[in-house]
Amino acid sequence: MDEIQKKKQATSTHKLGVYLWIWGLLFVLSFFSYLVDWFQFQGLLRHSLILIFMFLKAGLIMAFFMHLYWERYALVSVLLWPMTAVVGFIVLMAAEAKYTVFTRLLYFFIGG
């Protein structure tokens, strides 16, 4: 245990610069995503920009602030694989939502 802790300390103590860098990056990225709204980008551009900045921020927080970058792959993969279930759920629910709004518009408003 001691060894492990020492190892941990060794990696932790070196990283002040890294933390500050990530911290700065997060501010910049947040500012960028704010600018997406400020300039009122619309449509695909808006959504893809929002997603890109979001995933970058999330990735930075997870990788460095939550130390995932330094964790062993066993832990990382156990944490990330279940996300496929969430992704599947999102895709299917997006399709379901589209279908719902389609029938609502068709039978409640448009007709034919």
Partner: protein, 234 residues
């Protein structure tokens, strides 16, 4: 002990199959509490995912217009509406507190009690500020007539999802703030240096606890990143 230390283990994917095939622990060098927090956060991720998926379904399938968030959440500064100003400040505050938390973890492992304690306290105050601003935001919206069950700007579900999702996130922040204060006190008192036994669990205190608390706090920040993108910006 020597052949167990992390340095001698294979890394990368080879390390993964080694770890999974080995005895005793699957996550080499990861303390029990830390793994627990990770698995808990995984479960919590599913909770927030379900909230956001419901929100996606609700927002897409309503035939009533969804309010324009950048107008609804704008603040008037000197008579000029600035879109999403408050949200931007809240994001700023939360990221700041995340940074201080990351540093607190670092100093905790360095057994720098003072730094660690002050940084945790700063994090707690950041969290408190965030909750305070959220209270302001809620009262502003309520003042404008938005309720969980109705919304003057368009679809009913806007109010419902707004209060539910930010409320659930705010609850997480508040719980985090409470624990941050408790842990700041523990750090200053030196519990982690003396391995004092916990009041409830009777287990010995260890600086790993700060990292665990940090994981939780960063997670709260992480969720905010998604809420900010999907609820306020989308």
């Amino acid at each position: 002990m020597s052949d167990n230390s992390l340095n001698n283990l294979p890394g990368g994917f080879k390390g993964m199959s080694h770890d999974m095939g080995s005895d005793q622990t699957a996550f080499k060098g990861a303390q029990w509490g830390k793994v627990m927090m990770w698995i808990f956060l995984l479960s919590d991720t599913f909770i927030f995912s379900c909230f956001l998926i419901s929100y996606m379904k609700g927002r897409t399938s309503t035939v009533v217009d969804w309010p324009n968030t950048s107008e609804v959440f704008s603040l008037h500064v000197g008579g000029v509406p600035v879109p999403l100003l408050l949200i931007a400040i809240m994001t700023f505050v939360l990221i700041t507190s995340s940074g201080t938390m990351a540093l607190a973890v670092k100093y905790g492992y360095e057994r720098n009690r003072k730094m660690c304690g002050w940084l945790i306290l700063a994090t707690a105050i950041g969290g408190l500020t965030f909750v305070g601003m959220q209270v302001f935001e809620w009262s502003k919206l309520i003042h404008e007539g938005v309720r969980p069950w109705e919304n003057p700007f368009g679809a009913k579900q806007f109010g419902s999802f707004f209060f539910m999702i930010t409320g659930f996130h705010g609850t997480h922040v508040s719980i985090g703030v409470i624990f941050l204060f408790i842990y700041a006190r523990k750090v200053f008192r030196g519990d982690f240096d003396n391995a004092k036994r916990g009041f409830f669990t009777t287990m010995k205190s260890d600086y790993v606890a700060i990292e665990i608390l940090g994981l939780y706090w960063h997670f709260v920040d992480l969720v905010w990143v998604f809420i900010f993108a999907f609820f306020y910006l989308w």
